[in-house]
Amino acid sequence: MLLEHLHRLNTARDARLAAVTITPLDIGEARLFLEGELHDPAAAPAIESALRTGKSGIVEIGGQAAFVNVYLPPPRIVVIGAVHISQALAGMAETAGFDLSIIDPRSAFATEERFGKAKLLAEWPEEALQHTPLDAYTALVAVTHDPKIDDFPLAKALEAGCFYVGALGSRKTHAGRVERLAKLGVNESAIASIHAPIGLDIHASSPAEIAVAILAEIIQTLRTRDVTAGRRAAA
C-alpha cells in the first residue's frame, strides 16, 4: 500500500468518511477512492455496490480480477426522546450492530432504570449534539412529539446529511412540523426527505413493533442509499 493511500485512508476513517481500495490480483498498482469522489466508470459499479453493502471481496473490473476492500464508518442511531419506543429500539439496534444513543432533556424519562446500559444524554439536543455531531453515517429518530425538543435536531440532521431522518407523528402532526421547519429556513427537498409517518408500513401497533418498523426502515435506507451523490452538505 502506498504511504499516501494509508494516510488518506486513515484521515477519511477518522473523519467518519467511507473509503474503498481496489487492488488488482496480478499485483498491479492499488487505487483508493473516497465516498463522493468521481469514480472511474469501469470501477464505479463495484465501488457503489461495496459502499452500499459494506461487503469486501474479489470482483472483475475491466476483465481483470481485483480485490475491493470497503471501509465504512460504524453506523450510528441518535434517538431524540427517551420514550417507550426508544427502550425497545435500544436493544434491537445493538443486536443489529448499530451504535445507539438517546437524547432527552426530561430527566424523568432519561433514567438508567428505564434504559439499562444504553447511552443516555439527559440534555437538550442543542447541547448534546455539540459533543455528538451528526454525520452521513448517522440516523436521526425523533420520537418525543414535542416540537421544542424534536425540531432543532431534525433541522440539524437534514443539514448534516444524515442517511436517515425520521419523525414520529400522524400526517397531521407532520404537516405542522413541515411548516415549522420551513419557517426555520430548512429547504423543501430536505424536509421532504424526512420519513414520516416513521417506520416501514408493517401495521405496527405496540411500541416494540414500531421499533421494529423504524429499525427496518433505517436498514433499508442505509443499504439502498445513493452513494454517488456524496455527502449532501459540506462537512
Binding site: L6, L25, I27, G54, S56, L72, P74
Partner: protein, 109 residues
C-alpha cells in the same frame, strides 16, 4: 460488515510504525471459503522485527504470514498466500477450523 471499531486499529498502527522508521507489511484477507474466523477485509500489520497487530485468522496462520511478511518487507514484492485444510502447508500451520483463506501481503510505502 457494518464496520465495527477495532482499537487500536491495525492501519493506524501501521502508519505509526512507518513514521518510526520501521519496515511495515500489511496482510489482508481477500477471500474465504467455509468457516473462516476473520471476515474478508481484515488486516494484520507486521513490522521488520516481527511485531504484529490485528489478525487474519483466529491465530492459526498468523505465524506463517509473519514469516512471509519479512520477505515482502525486504523485497517490496507483494504476494498472495493461500491456506486451507486441502493444503499440506496449511495443515502444518494449523488452519484446522475447516476453512480456506487467501491473504494478500504487501509492503507499506
Amino acid at each position: 460488515m457494518l464496520g465495527q471499531p477495532l482499537y487500536p486499529d491495525p492501519l493506524q498502527v501501521a502508519g505509526e510504525w512507518h513514521a518510526d522508521g520501521r519496515g511495515v507489511a500489511i496482510a489482508t484477507v481477500i477471500e474465504t471459503w467455509g468457516s473462516a474466523p476473520r471476515p474478508v477485509g481484515s488486516h494484520l500489520v507486521i513490522d521488520s522485527e516481527g511485531n504484529f497487530h490485528g489478525s487474519v485468522s483466529g491465530g492459526c496462520v498468523e505465524g506463517a504470514v509473519i514469516v512471509e511478511a519479512a520477505d515482502v518487507i525486504a523485497s517490496g514484492a507483494a504476494r498472495i498466500l493461500e491456506f486451507g485444510v486441502a493444503d499440506e502447508t496449511a495443515w502444518r500451520v494449523g488452519l484446522s477450523c475447516g476453512g480456506r483463506i487467501r491473504i494478500y501481503v504487501e509492503r507499506l510505502g
